[in-house]
Subunit: 229 residues, 2 copies
DNA sequence: CGTGGCATTGATGTAATTCAAAAGACGTGG
DNA sequence: CCACGTCTTTTGAATTACATCAATGCCACG
């Protein structure tokens, strides 16, 4: 079997890398909303979420925050040029830990160890898949379509296949900044989906998909009358 | 020097891959708007633009088109799982040619040839940089911010550094579908930027940046009064 | 010289933002 | 355990920006 040149959907992956990589690893942990890594640090390191959840944020000159990516165990980052988009990583929920690897050491290791090289490549491809999915979510026009697409994607990442109770560890603000819409709009859209029985909110940060078909339909942003009443 | 684990900004790159890869290559060419590759084909192949420009499109169930990426010479695609997001590649301007490589052969080659493996990885990382940039562009709230960010990014990709005349080979529809806004809005925004002397339109599909600072400011979407009159 | 696709501009409706406030969660300390 | 303050979420009303509909202008091409 050759090196994978196609990103597969990010299902629940092995949160540890390959063995020889792990000797370079440092474990980092932080409280909720704490910054794990700033832009500069990302220049020399390479990160991977082990437990919990994290977000990658970018702030523009006027303080407007943008969330570039949500990270679950197994998700890695540090591939993108830090000079380009100053981007920090922050803890989303309690008990979040991340593995940190020195970039130099990793590069050297990849040079000699094919398994490491393959492992890195796989994670880069995973990252591509996540970004691509995100691009498509953001591309959807209406707020309803974006929120629906986000919920579907998140559910698949957390618990592929099953439609059980899904934890939504991030705040509505986080979701809003991820989708590029206002918090109030996120909230309103969720209540619409809830009152139409497309989803159920077990708690404010925990939901279930009741009608997956309707949710997928809403994603397409076509005719909303299907949701009407 | 080890394998690069950071994507650098996509400047003008060598449009040919490394030598041993090129033996697997087939050259494909097409007229304007022709489809070079459909979703299925992307499962078994891996592509790279040699000359001209291309776009990667995704159509949803209701016929709404979304442009996922614009490709210039040196830009590659075929990393993402085709099952996930059915995505086709189409020719944007006359004289566009693309190199096509069989995925299997490439994987096998990468297994034995470190240079090939490195080359593939670099292009994957380039792809990440493009997607990341795009994500940030789409995240910008206002139409003005999106169009401005798009113009800046495109200018940097075409001609890094200099602010000379930039060719904009794609139609306004393409730009609209790339930015997730209406064609009319793209057109209106461009005329605003033109009348404020932020950019100049040498022709409908050719522009110059007159005031880069103002364009960067518009990108942030902060205070638009700076552009007022 | 006409035809058709692309681009621009105008008028109107609508969905999302913004401003404002209330209601609900959550922790702290009395 | 309850009272209190703070932060998050939800809901409401007003405004704004974008989409949509419609028409005209503009080239390129046959």
């Amino acid at each position: 079997m050759g090196m994978a040149v196609t990103a597969t959907r990010s299902g629940p992956r092995d949160p540890g890398g390959c063995a020889s990589m792990e000797r370079l690893r440092t474990i980092v942990r932080g409280d909720i909303d704490e910054t794990i890594c700033r832009g500069e640090e990302q220049a020399d390191h390479w990160f991977r979420v082990v437990t919990g959840a994290a977000r990658r944020c970018s702030l523009n000159a006027y303080g407007r925050r943008q969330i570039v990516d949500f990270l679950l165990p197994g998700d890695a980052f540090g591939f993108d040029a830090p000079a380009l988009h100053e981007c920090s990583a922050e803890v989303v929920c309690a008990g979040t830990t991340m593995a940190r690897y020195p970039r130099r050491g990793l590069e050297d290791l990849a040079e000699s160890d094919l398994q490491v090289s393959r492992c890195l490549c796989d994670m880069a491809l995973d990252s591509i898949a996540r970004l691509q999915t995100r691009t498509l979510i953001l591309g959807h026009g209406s707020a309803l379509a974006r929120v629906s697409a986000f919920l579907l994607d998140w559910a698949d990442r957390c618990d592929p296949g099953r439609d059980s109770a899904i934890s939504l560890p991030m705040s509505r603000y986080d979701i809003a900044d991820y989708l590029g819409i206002a918090v109030e709009t996120v909230s309103r859209t969720l209540t619409v989906l809830r009152t139409r029985h497309v989803i159920a909110l077990r708690a404010t940060r925990c939901f279930t998909i009741c009608d997956r078909e309707a949710l997928e339909l809403a994603t397409e942003g076509g005719d909303e009358s299907s949701l009407a009443n």
